[in-house]
Symmetry: C2
Subunit: 463 residues, 2 copies
C-alpha cells in the first residue's frame, strides 16, 4: 500500500507526479460546478492536503458526497499548483477509495473547537485534532533532540530499572508493585508475607534512575537515562502526573560547574532544535496557545543564564518590594513565585541557583566546606520556575555515610551506593529534567495532562 506522506507532498517540487495519499477527512465542501474540495490530514504535518474530486468519479455521488469529518480515505491523483488561497498544491483526484466511515451522528470530533477537558475523555481520538497532533510531533522531535544531544557528546543511553527493591531513592511516595492476592494477602506473624510475593520482598515503581545511573557513570563515564518515573502523590494540579518521563544525565569526573554547563547547553540545544524542525507546529502554538512562546524560547537559546548562589538569591528576594505569598528566609525552599520573580523580574532571563542549604536537599548531594550547604543547582526559567534540578554527588564515603545516617536512613539499604565511594570513587554530577514540564514550556500547553498521550493522575487511568 504505497502512500506518500502529506508532509512530503506539501514540499514536493515534482508537481506532475501521480501519487496516492491516505488520511482522515477534516472537511468537505461541495461546489455547484459538480466537484468537491476535501481536506485530508495524515498526521505527518499540521497542514491538510486539499483534494479536488469531481463528479466524473464513479463513486462521486454515492461515496464522495457522503464523506464526513473523520472518514479515512485513499486518494490517487496528480499534484498541481493550487489556485485557491491557503495552500500551494492540491491533488486532482482520479480515484478515491473510502477505507473507513465515521458516522457524523456519533463521531465525537466534529469540526468545531472542543475543550481540552472534553478531549481528555476521548484520548483515543484527540491526536486527530490540530493541537494534539502538533503536541505529538513536537514531543517526538524533543525526544529525538535529547538522544541526539547526548549521543553527539559521547554519552551512553542506560536503561535503569523501573521496579525497585527498596524505597531508598528518597523522593516522595511510591507505588507498590505486587503479585500478592489483594483479596487475601498472605500473612506471617501478623505481617505481610512478602516471601510469597513475586520478588520475595516489597517492591515499588522507581521515582528516579539517578542512583543506578551513578553506577554506570562510575564505570562508563558519561551516561543518561530517558525513561518513565512514578510518584504516588495525591496532587491534582496542572503540573503533576503520577507517571512521567524523565531525562537524567550523570557524568563521572565532573563537578558542579560542568554540570551547569551541560544543563544550559542541553536546554538551548533542545529549544533550538524544535524551533528549527517544528516551525509550523510552533507557529500554531504561538498563535493559538501562547503568543509569547517562540520569543521566550528564542530568548533562552540566545541569552546567557544568570548564575548565583541560593544565599545570594535569598538576599535579593528578601529585599524585594514584591509581596510574596510564602515568606522568604534562608533555609526554606523556594516557591514557584520566588523562582519566577528572579527570572522574570530581576534578571529577565533563565537563572541557575546553586549551593542550597543541606537540610532541604537529598542525602546524596556533595557537602560544601561550610558544612551547611550542598553543591546543588536548580535551573529556573520564566513562567515555569524550576525546570532542572541537579547536583554534584557526594563522592566521599564517610561524609556520605554520615549524611545517610543524619537523615535517619538505614545505611544497609545503600550498601552498593556506598561501595561506589569505596572502590575508585570519583567526582561526579548529574541532573534530572522532567520531560512533560519541558514540553509544557516549549508548547505553552497549560495542563500537563495534555502533553502526554495518556495521562495518569489520582483517580484517572483511562486508556
Amino acid at each position: 500500500m504505497k502512500r506518500t506522506r502529506i508532509a512530503e507532498v506539501l514540499t514536493s517540487e515534482n508537481l506532475k507526479a501521480k501519487i496516492s495519499v491516505m488520511g482522515w477527512v477534516r472537511t468537505r465542501r461541495d461546489s455547484k460546478g459538480g466537484f468537491s474540495f476535501i481536506e485530508i490530514n495524515d498526521g505527518s504535518v499540521l497542514s491538510n492536503l486539499q483534494l479536488i474530486a469531481d463528479n466524473s468519479l464513479p463513486n462521486y455521488r454515492d461515496e464522495v458526497l457522503e464523506l464526513q469529518t473523520g472518514c479515512s480515505i485513499r486518494a490517487t491523483g496528480t499534484l498541481s499548483a493550487s489556485q485557491g488561497k491557503g495552500q500551494n498544491v492540491e491533488l486532482k483526484v482520479e480515484e478515491i477509495q473510502v477505507l473507513g466511515w465515521a458516522d457524523p451522528s456519533v463521531y465525537p470530533l466534529q469540526k468545531k473547537r472542543h475543550s481540552f477537558e472534553f478531549l481528555r475523555t476521548i484520548a483515543h481520538l484527540r491526536p486527530r485534532t490540530n493541537t494534539f497532533g502538533a503536541v505529538a510531533r513536537v514531543r517526538n522531535a524533543m525526544s529525538l533532540a535529547i538522544h541526539t544531544f547526548f549521543q553527539e557528546r559521547g554519552f551512553l543511553y542506560i536503561h535503569t530499572p523501573i521496579i525497585t527493591g527498596s524505597d531508598c531513592e528518597g523522593a516522595g511516595e511510591m507505588f507498590q508493585v505486587t503479585t500478592l492476592d489483594l483479596d487475601d494477602v498472605p500473612k506471617k506473624d501478623g505481617q505481610v508475607d512478602f516471601e510469597k510475593d513475586f520478588f520475595g520482598r516489597p517492591t515499588n515503581l522507581t521515582v528516579s534512575g539517578q542512583l543506578t545511573a551513578e553506577i554506570y557513570a562510575l564505570s562508563m563515564g558519561d551516561v543518561y537515562t530517558f525513561g518513565p518515573t512514578f510518584r504516588a502523590e495525591d496532587s491534582n494540579t496542572s503540573r503533576h502526573l503520577a507517571e512521567f518521563w524523565m531525562i537524567e544525565p550523570e557524568m563521572a569526573f565532573c563537578d558542579l560547574e560542568g554540570n551547569i554547563a551541560l544543563a544550559v547547553e542541553s536546554l538551548k540545544y533542545i529549544f533550538a532544535y524544535v524551533l528549527k524542525n517544528c516551525e509550523e507546529d510552533m507557529k500554531f502554538f504561538n498563535r493559538f496557545i501562547d503568543p509569547s512562546i517562540i520569543e521566550t524560547l528564542e530568548g533562552v537559546v540566545s541569552e546567557d543564564f544568570e548564575c548565583l548562589t541560593y544565599t545570594e538569591g535569598i538576599k535579593i528576594l528578601s529585599q524585594a518590594k514584591k509581596k510574596f505569598e510564602f515568606p522568604v528566609e534562608w533555609g526554606t525552599d523556594l516557591q514557584s513565585e520566588h523562582e519566577r520573580y528572579l527570572c522574570e523580574e530581576v534578571f529577565k532571563r533563565p537563572v541557575v541557583l546553586t549551593d542550597y542549604p543541606k537540610k532541604i536537599k537529598p542525602f546524596y548531594m556533595k557537602v560544601n566546606k561550610d558544612g551547611k550547604t550542598v553543591r546543588a543547582m536548580d535551573v529556573l526559567v520564566p513562567k515555569t520556575g524550576e525546570i532542572i534540578g541537579g547536583s554534584q554527588r557526594e563522592d566521599d564515603h564517610d561524609t556520605l555515610l554520615e549524611s545517610i545516617k543524619g537523615m535517619g536512613l538505614n545505611p544497609d539499604d545503600y550498601w552498593w551506593y556506598l561501595e561506589l565511594r569505596k572502590f575508585g570513587s570519583a567526582p561526579h554530577a548529574g541532573f534530572g529534567l522532567g520531560f512533560e514540564r519541558l514540553i509544557q514550556f516549549v508548547t505553552g500547553m497549560s495542563n500537563i495532562r495534555d502533553v502526554i498521550p495518556f495521562p495518569r493522575t489520582p483517580g484517572s487511568v483511562s486508556f
Copy 2:
C-alpha cells in the same frame, strides 16, 4: 575538569598533544628501570590506554606504586607512539592524581576471570569489566540504531502508558500496582475496595504498548514505541525477564506485506549498524562469547529472508526426519526447536512465517477469508527462534467484536479500541521486538540477565 576520552585518544592523530585522561586502573606493572606501566579504562572504549609513569613524579613512591585495579585516577601528559606491543599510542605521564582508591583486600573485581553468575551479585561493579562494558556500549548503539531507523523513515516516537487500568492487553500475567496498605487492605462488601486505591480501580503494569500505539497510528500514520514492559511469569530461564524493553512499530495504511518488509529492513539495519559502529566490541564477543556471531549477523544482513505460511511450515516440519521433543500438528504453536530447524537446517537463513491458526493467536489479529487463520507473522532467526511477532490488525468493527466475544473477553473493556474501527478505520499493522533478546542475538550472551543493567526475575530485584 577537562578530560579527553580514551576512545578519542586511541584514534588521535595529534601525537604531541598534552592531555588529561581520567579512568579506572586495570593493571599496573613496574619496571626495574624505575617506571611503571599503568593501563586505565574509562568505559568509552574496550581498549585500555597505557600510561608510563616514572619515578621523577613527586608521588611515584607514595601513590603510583600503590595503585591497584579499580583505583580512579587523573593523568596528564603527552601522547606518543608506543614502542610496546598491543597499542599504537601511550601517555607519558607528567602528573598523576589519585581520585579514589580501591583496597585490593576488599575490592571484588580483581584481575582474573569472574563468572557471570558472580558478577550478577555485584551489578554495581560489573560494567567495569570488559564484557559488561561492551554490552553497555552495544546496547546503547542498538538503541540509537532503532531510533535512527524509525526517525529516518518518518515514524513518530510515542510514549505509551506503563500503568494500565485494565488487563485487556491479553498477554500473560501482570503485576498489580497499588497504594493500598497491604497490611490492612480496605474491603467493601467482602471485596477489595479499589475506590480507595490511587486510581480508584485495579491497575497493572503494561505487557505491551500495542493497543494504545494503534490509537496513534490511526491518527499520526507511522509510530513506534520503545519502552519497558512487564510479565509476572514465574519463568526462571535464560530468556525471560519480568521487566524488559520492547520496540513496537505500528503503521496505518499498511498490510501484512508492508509489515514484513519493515521487520526485515529494521533487523538488517540494526545489525549492519552494530557491525559498523561497534567493531571492536563485536570482535570481543566473537572471540570470547560466540565465535560465529559476526558471521551470523553478516549473513542476516546480506541474505533474503525466506517467507512462507505457517501451514507450509507445518508441512515441512511434519515431513522432517528429525525427531522433535514436541510433536508438530496443524493448530499447535511452534516450539523453539521447530523454529530453529526451519532456519538452521531447512532454509539456512532467517524465516518469516505467516498466517497462523486463529485460535493460537490474540484477538486483535486480522482474520483471513478462510476464517481459520489470521494475518500474523513471526520472524525467526538462527539460534534464537522467534525474534519478532506481529500482525495486520483486525480493522473491521464487527469481526473484531466477534473475536473479542469469541475469546470470552468483555467488549466493554475494549470500547475505545472498538471505536477506532468505527471512526475512520484503516488497514494497519505492526510488530513487537523484544530488545533484550535482540541484544542476546547480537552479542551471543547466553543469559538475558547479562544484557540488561539490572535484571528483574522471580525472587530477584537487587540494585
